[in-house]
């Protein structure tokens, strides 16, 4: 990896960090629990790395590790989004318009 790539990755990192700070500081305490669940679901993005690992057929150990990683990351993604949705559904009954 050349230095230019590293620098551009660091730019992405710094801006994403700042963005994360800005977006979250406006969330009311009422929504803290669903928010935690939501960020948890999104941290399942490591499934992307796991998929490449499982599919590249480099050697047997890598493939086994990859499959375990895909399973755990998918549990995180699917479970995380479904739970968040279940929590948020509790907020919507009141208005009567939705659902």
């Amino acid at each position: 990896m050349d230095n230019e790539t590293i620098i551009s990755l660091l730019y992405v990192f710094a801006l994403a960090a700042f963005q994360g700070y800005l977006v979250i500081s406006k969330v009311p305490p009422l929504l803290h629990t669903p928010l935690m669940s939501a960020t948890n679901a999104i941290s399942g993005i490591s499934v992307v790395g796991a998929i490449v690992l499982a599919g590249s057929q480099h050697d047997r150990i890598s493939t086994i590790l990859g499959v375990i990683a895909v399973i755990s990351a998918t549990i995180n993604v699917v479970g995380g989004f479904m739970i968040t949705d279940r929590m948020l559904r509790m907020f919507q009954d009141k208005t009567g318009k939705k659902k």
Partner: protein, 298 residues
């Protein structure tokens, strides 16, 4: 269009959808729509990854995705609503495990030809990942009542934790210059151990703060994976998580009128001394919060 660019575009759209989704979480009425957008983003990122040129066979990927989806869905459907915090902790442990495993596999495959930069990203990945795996498992066990919920303290706890931490950092630095296999696995083991020791002294009532912090670590582990694999969606989503988790745990502490150091290390000093405690809780609340809570009260 060339495939690599197509993948990058799906990642870009996924990143935008994640940020939009979390932004929409700032109000109860838009929150659900936002999460649906984020879920679409996740699907796009996964679909884009399937086009990756390194992937030669799909059977194992599909097996993994199917098994994971079934377990994840089962866990979220059959767990009672009151057990939600535990479930989030468990889900967190799985996500961190995935990041840790990817890091270990990277090391295993390329050991010997790793640049200092790549080695340090892998170091970060397994360190944060490992701490999160066992840390959230302990959080899960405490919330579920499998482990005593009260803070577990013993004499010389500080010394044990600090020396373990220093040893891990020492190995971390050493590995950047000399990537030795055995030492790497020792560090992974230490990360797992550290996660346990870090959460044991914290009471079950403070677990949401711990989980938010663990969420932050899991995000940083994903971001480190992104640096190792030169994958921007991993960096964006991971960093976003990392910092939002950190801010969220600080906000949660503030809502309880406590400092984050008090929550995390409050039990460490109290092993022998018995200070006078103020009973009851006091919660500061703003007008916006009251309005929100009243609107959705039953």
């Amino acid at each position: 269009m060339q495939i690599p660019y197509l993948i990058e575009i799906t990642y870009l759209v996924a990143s935008v959808l994640f940020i939009y989704g979390l932004k929409a979480m700032s109000h109860p009425t838009t929150a659900r729509r936002g999460m649906n957008a984020a879920a679409v983003g996740m699907l796009m990122a996964i679909a884009g990854t399937l086009l990756h040129r390194e992937i030669v066979s799909y059977e194992w990927i599909i097996v993994g995705l199917v098994i994971g989806s079934i377990i994840g869905a089962a866990m979220s459907i059959w767990m009672p609503m009151t057990a939600m915090p535990q479930r989030t902790a468990l889900s967190l442990a799985f996500g961190a495990l995935a990041a840790t495993i990817v890091g270990i596999a990277e090391f295993y495959r390329y050991s010997g030809e790793l640049s200092a930069f790549k080695m340090s990203t892998i170091d970060f990945e397994v360190l944060f990942g490992g701490i999160t795996v066992t840390g959230s498992l302990i959080a899960f066990a405490k919330l579920q009542g499998l482990v005593r919920g009260t803070p577990v303290t013993y004499k010389s706890q500080n010394i044990v934790n600090i020396s373990l931490f220093i040893a891990a950092v020492g190995i971390f630095v050493y590995l950047i210059f000399f990537p030795v296999g055995t030492l790497f696995y020792v560090m992974v083991g230490m990360a797992f151990l550290f996660g346990i020791l870090l959460v044991l002294p914290i009471g079950a009532a403070d677990m949401p703060v711990v989980m938010s912090l663990m969420n932050s670590y899991a995000g940083l582990a994903s971001a480190a994976t992104g640096f190792a694999l030169n994958n921007k969606v991993l960096i964006i989503a991971g960093t976003f998580d990392g910092f939002s988790g950190l801010i969220l745990s600080i906000l949660m502490c503030r809502a309880m009128n406590r400092s984050i150091t008090n929550v995390l290390f409050g039990a460490f000093g109290s092993a022998g001394t018995e200070a006078t405690q103020i009973e009851g809780t006091m919660r500061e609340i703003s007008v916006d919060d009251v309005a929100g809570q009243m609107a959705y009260a039953r």
